[in-house]
């Protein structure tokens, strides 16, 4: 009896200790999660507060007279005339009419500097889309220069940044603002244009397309190759020293710094096979090398998790090994494989270093339309813009990061959704 109550009190004593340990452990976990969430929140706050401005751009409203004489054309169908036309004159003249008392070469130049130097071409495109405007007058919102944009936004926020402005320019802006002729509007250029030296004209369309094409290439190569390799290693390969060796090396490969894959791609694909530089094909090839280990490892795990009893059932029914894999193992392993592939793709989407090695860091204005058009990708675009001296690129950089992050979030969410959807644990 004595012995029994002794044991009980010992158990009770240890119980309080165990409970305390458990409570402490729970708090560690909560702290860890809190720190993680805090880091994400700070990151998002920083990026969004820096980048939200880039989604709007400064425009100035001008009365444009599409005067054929001023441009120097008489026929809108004549391409030679169109390319020789003095399109800048349209906006410059309109601006001068707006501020008629500006005189002197210097001031006149300053005045025309209010507008983006692409303004003329925007007006040309607008005219070509609406040919009936030729010879007529119209009020048009014209894109402002990036320095004006930076100044105007900071001025609206109450903390004017005028380091790159002259006093006259500040005055003109104030006047335009009073007459409601300068305003922030949705920056559609950001989503419809490629890169540019002029921040106000630069967009991420080129980089997004480049990323898209490169990822398609990567997925088309790495998913079938990775899944086949995983199936072979799991289901068909004999288990011996060779396959152990291969397994160790696949795991090694997953840990190799990505820049090495870039060097490898440069040496093999570009220098040996003469694949052109800077194109999504070579980007996809390099990223395939990089994502293959991830896909192989996750696919193998997915295949391994298929219960052996299902395999035995299939083999026992007289299914060949190939049929067993195709009819029973693959359908059950597919959700896991797809998740792995999407995570691999998300990794590839954010990858910069290896692409630097194969020339995808070039300054490319045109939007790539095919796998063999020179292209850059979103993270490299971010790298390029972050490196640019113009202040206006700061918000552009953050905006591009926001776009990249939203793609990543979409991909990761769809991975979770796909898995939930396909996973039928009957």
């Amino acid at each position: 009896m004595n012995n029994r109550s002794d044991t009980l009190s010992k158990i009770q004593h240890s119980l309080t200790r165990r409970n305390r340990a458990e409570a402490r452990f729970r708090w560690y976990g909560r702290c860890a999660i809190f720190i993680g969430l805090l880091a994400v929140a700070v990151l998002f706050f920083d990026i969004i507060s820096k980048g939200h401005g880039a989604f709007r751009a400064t425009y100035i409203k001008l009365d444009i007279h599409y005067d054929p004489e001023l441009i120097g054309i008489n026929n809108l169908a004549d391409n030679e005339q169109l390319s020789a036309g003095n399109w800048q004159a349209l906006s410059k003249t309109a601006l001068r009419n707006k501020f008629p008392d500006v005189s002197g070469r210097q001031d006149k130049r300053r005045l025309s500097k209010l507008l983006s130097n692409g303004a003329g071409f925007d007006l040309k495109d607008h005219l070509l889309a609406n040919p009936q405007l030729l010879g007529k007058k119209e009020s048009v919102w014209v894109l402002a220069d990036d320095d004006i944009d930076t100044y105007f936004k900071s001025w609206l926020d109450g903390d004017a940044y005028d380091a790159r402005m002259t006093a006259k320019q500040v005055q003109w802006i104030a006047q335009l603002h009073q007459e409601d002729l300068i305003a922030l509007k949705f920056n559609s250029n950001l989503f419809s244009r490629g890169d540019s030296r002029e921040p106000e004209q630069a967009g991420i369309r080129g980089a997004v397309m480049g990323s898209f094409l490169t990822l398609i290439m990567t997925l088309m190569l790495s998913f079938p190759i990775g899944v086949s390799a995983a199936i072979y290693l799991e289901e068909f390969a004999p288990k011996n020293r060779w396959t152990d060796f291969i397994e160790v090396n696949i795991n090694n490969l997953a840990a190799v710094p990505s820049i090495i894959f870039g060097l490898l791609g440069l040496a093999i694909f570009i220098n040996f096979f003469h694949v052109p530089r800077s194109v999504p094909i070579v980007g996809g090839l390099v990223l395939t090398l990089m994502t293959l280990p991830t896909i192989i490892i996750t696919s193998r795990a997915a295949i391994k998790s298929v219960p052996p009893s299902i395999r035995e059932a299939a083999l026992g029914m007289g299914a060949s090994k190939y049929q067993m894999v195709l009819h029973h193992v693959l359908p059950l392993a597919l959700p896991g494989m797809l998740t792995g592939a999407i995570i691999g793709m998300a990794q590839a989407l954010g990858e910069t270093a290896p692409l630097l090695m194969i020339g995808m860091v070039a300054f490319i204005v045109d939007i790539p339309n095919g796998f063999s058009d020179p292209a850059t990708v979103l993270p490299v675009q971010i790298f390029l813009w972050a490196d640019s001296p113009e202040r206006a690129f700061i918000e552009k950089t953050s905006a591009a990061i926001m776009v990249l992050l939203s793609f990543l979030i979409i991909m990761n969410t769809s991975a979770v959704w796909l898995r939930k959807r396909l996973e039928r644990r009957w």
Binding site: A313, M317, G318, W426
Partner: protein, 275 residues
């Protein structure tokens, strides 16, 4: 025949199986079977016949090699790395381990039901029609439906599932799942059905149903069943084979094994002295 009391409980080297291990009308004949897992030997020099349309029960203590022996009959041991089978195994005079024999065909002729019910995570219909489909036994949907109904009826499952053929087989109860697995096995009209402890995961009522089913099936099929339940062996089988440490000790008509075992080890096992 030596008297039981004169034998020791130790197995002598070169033990010879006692009883009636051979048959005049064999479906399968096995001679001098040795099975190794890598270096470890699991079956020692077993020779036995399985008669046409009989139910033969394999009993013996855990780890004595019953499953291993059963799995040599449809070459499921091929799927185990490092497993090696020596000796002659013939079905209707045809060597099952001949190099030109296709295991796919063999497994269509020798079906198997496993210890744990393992229906495919697919519909009941797909479970039963899978075998006929891969072996090309039926071309049209009508033929497949006929096989489906016939097999499920034979497995005594038709009435219970006829309204839910397109629902997952894994949604059935354990006993129903096991009968579904039996239906799946007989859908390809095998000649022999191997059952490895088919009732060990089931309750007594489900077990009774399966035992009834085995009795019915024995009219058309040859059945080899491994069981841990001596009552079950006594109820369903015509002959019983007793294994001990990888050796086949005794094979005799079931009634005799349970009333007058010929070997002392058999007697010790059925009277519960070990096992």
């Amino acid at each position: 025949m030596k008297l039981a009391s004169e034998q020791t409980l130790e197995l002598d080297e070169g033990h010879v199986t006692v009883g009636q291990s051979f048959s005049d009308d064999p479906k399968m004949t096995m001679r001098n079977i040795n099975v190794f897992y890598a270096e470890k030997q699991a079956i020692y020099d077993v020779s036995i016949d399985i008669t046409k349309n009989e139910v033969i029960a394999m009993i013996g203590p855990s780890g004595c090699g019953k499953s291993t022996f059963l799995r040599t009959l449809n070459r499921m041991n091929d799927t185990v790395d490092g497993c090696r089978v020596e000796g002659d195994i013939c079905m209707d005079g045809e060597n099952l381990y001949a190099p030109n024999l296709d295991v796919v065909e063999l497994r269509a002729r020798v079906g198997m039901v496993f210890q744990k019910p393992n229906p495919f995570p697919k519909s009941i219909r797909d479970n039963v029609t899978y075998g006929p489909k891969i072996h090309g036994l039926a071309d049209t949907r009508v033929d497949l439906d006929e096989i489906l109904e016939k097999s499920l009826r034979k497995a005594g499952l038709w009435e219970e599932v006829k309204d839910r053929l397109d629902q997952p087989g894994t949604g059935l109860s354990g006993g129903q799942q096991q009968r579904l697995c039996i239906a799946r096995a007989i859908a390809v009209s095998p000649e022999v059905i191997l059952m490895d402890e088919p009732c060990s995961a089931l309750d007594p009522i489900a077990t009774a149903k399966i035992e009834e089913l085995i009795e019915e099936l024995s009219q058309n099929f040859t059945i080899a069943i491994v069981t841990h339940s001596m009552q079950q062996a006594a109820r369903v089988s015509h002959r019983t084979a007793y294994f001990h440490l990888g050796k086949l000790i005794e094979v005799n008509p079931t009634e005799q094994v349970f009333t007058m075992p010929q070997h002392q080890l058999t007697e010790a096992y059925i009277t519960g002295r070990f096992g």
